[in-house]
């Protein structure tokens, strides 16, 4: 039972992969556009931060689900 719970929690945390890919793509594009237009770096980084925060939310939901699985099914 414990091992199944651990497996479930591990699968829930896999949501982090999506967030990682998303943030990676967003950051690479932001770096590209700052290199192309250094004067717009302020606006680019603030919208990058917004996108990263939204992409990261999925990873956090995965974490919360994993914690709930560990605590409630233990």
């Amino acid at each position: 039972m414990t091992s199944l719970v651990a497996l479930g929690a591990g699968i829930a945390v896999l949501t982090g992969a999506g967030a990682g890919i998303g943030i990676g793509i967003a950051t690479s594009k932001a770096v590209e556009s700052i290199a192309r237009q250094p004067e717009a770096s302020g606006k680019i980084s603030s919208s990058l931060l917004l996108g990263c925060a939204l992409a990261e939310a999925t990873a956090v939901y995965g974490l919360v689900v994993a914690i709930l699985i560990i605590l409630l099914l233990k």
Binding site: L50, A53, V60, I67
Partner: protein, 234 residues
């Protein structure tokens, strides 16, 4: 291995539960419990008030001291940031947002001083996000009037109205879970690192998880709130 899991689960449970420091008796057998997060929040309030009182003493126009210069550049940075994010109609909500960024920033890094961060208690993040969504909707009603606010749900086309109504509930939920999940997640990762390698390595990671991540989350929270206010008042 089982001992490890036991220890982790105990640690998690301890962090998720809010400890009651003392109770205020009401007389009829009931009492109001006062949680640890509330007490730590009081400590933060007192510390912030004392620090701001000390910082604004002896401000002058000429012969500016180093302290005043640092204060002015800090406030100037925050003011520029909020003016950009809030837009021209939202500037009147700036003092509230500055208070919130100071509070969350201090609350996230207060773990370094041996206190339990209040933001690790979900009640605190729920309260903060409820305050945010009430302010966002109030800003919309204040700017456009009740009719305009209701009409705003049917923008840009009437068919998206259900999604716009759902957003009232999704926004605070996401703000609350983001702050709570990040603080708790950072804590869990730090505990795991401490269990594996107790010496040296945790210090390096603590720089990222305790200081950088905490400040970034404070920034993201107020940034998203001010963007939503900007959107609501447009």
């Amino acid at each position: 291995m089982d001992a490890f899991v036991e220890k982790l689960v105990d640690g998690l449970n301890e962090e998720l539960e809010c400890e009651t420091v003392f109770s205020i008796p009401l007389g009829n057998g009931h009492s109001i419990p006062v949680f640890e997060s509330v007490v730590v929040t009081w400590i933060i309030i007192v510390a912030l008030i004392v620090i701001s009182k000390l910082l604004v003493r002896n401000l002058t126009i000429d012969h500016v001291s180093k302290k005043q210069l640092a204060l002015e550049s800090g406030i100037g940075f925050l003011r520029n940031f909020f003016e950009d994010a809030l837009g021209e109609h939202g500037v009147r909500y700036m003092p509230y947002l500055m208070t919130v960024i100071l509070y969350i920033g201090v609350a996230n890094v207060i773990g370094l001083f041996g206190f339990k961060p209040p933001t690790k208690d979900m009640n605190v993040t729920i309260a903060l996000s409820l305050m945010s969504i009430i302010l966002i909707e109030y800003a919309g009603i204040y700017k456009k009037g009740v009719k305009g606010w209701i009409k705003g749900f049917a923008q840009p086309v009437a068919i998206v109205a259900p999604i716009n109504v759902l957003e009232i509930f999704i926004r605070p939920l996401s703000l609350c879970m983001r702050l709570f999940g990040n603080v708790l997640g950072a804590f869990v990762v730090m505990e795991l690192i401490k269990l594996c390698i107790p010496v040296g390595v945790p210090t390096v990671f603590s720089l990222y998880f305790d200081i950088f991540d905490g400040l970034i989350q404070a920034y993201v929270f107020v940034f998203l709130t001010s963007l939503f206010i900007n959107e609501a008042t447009e």
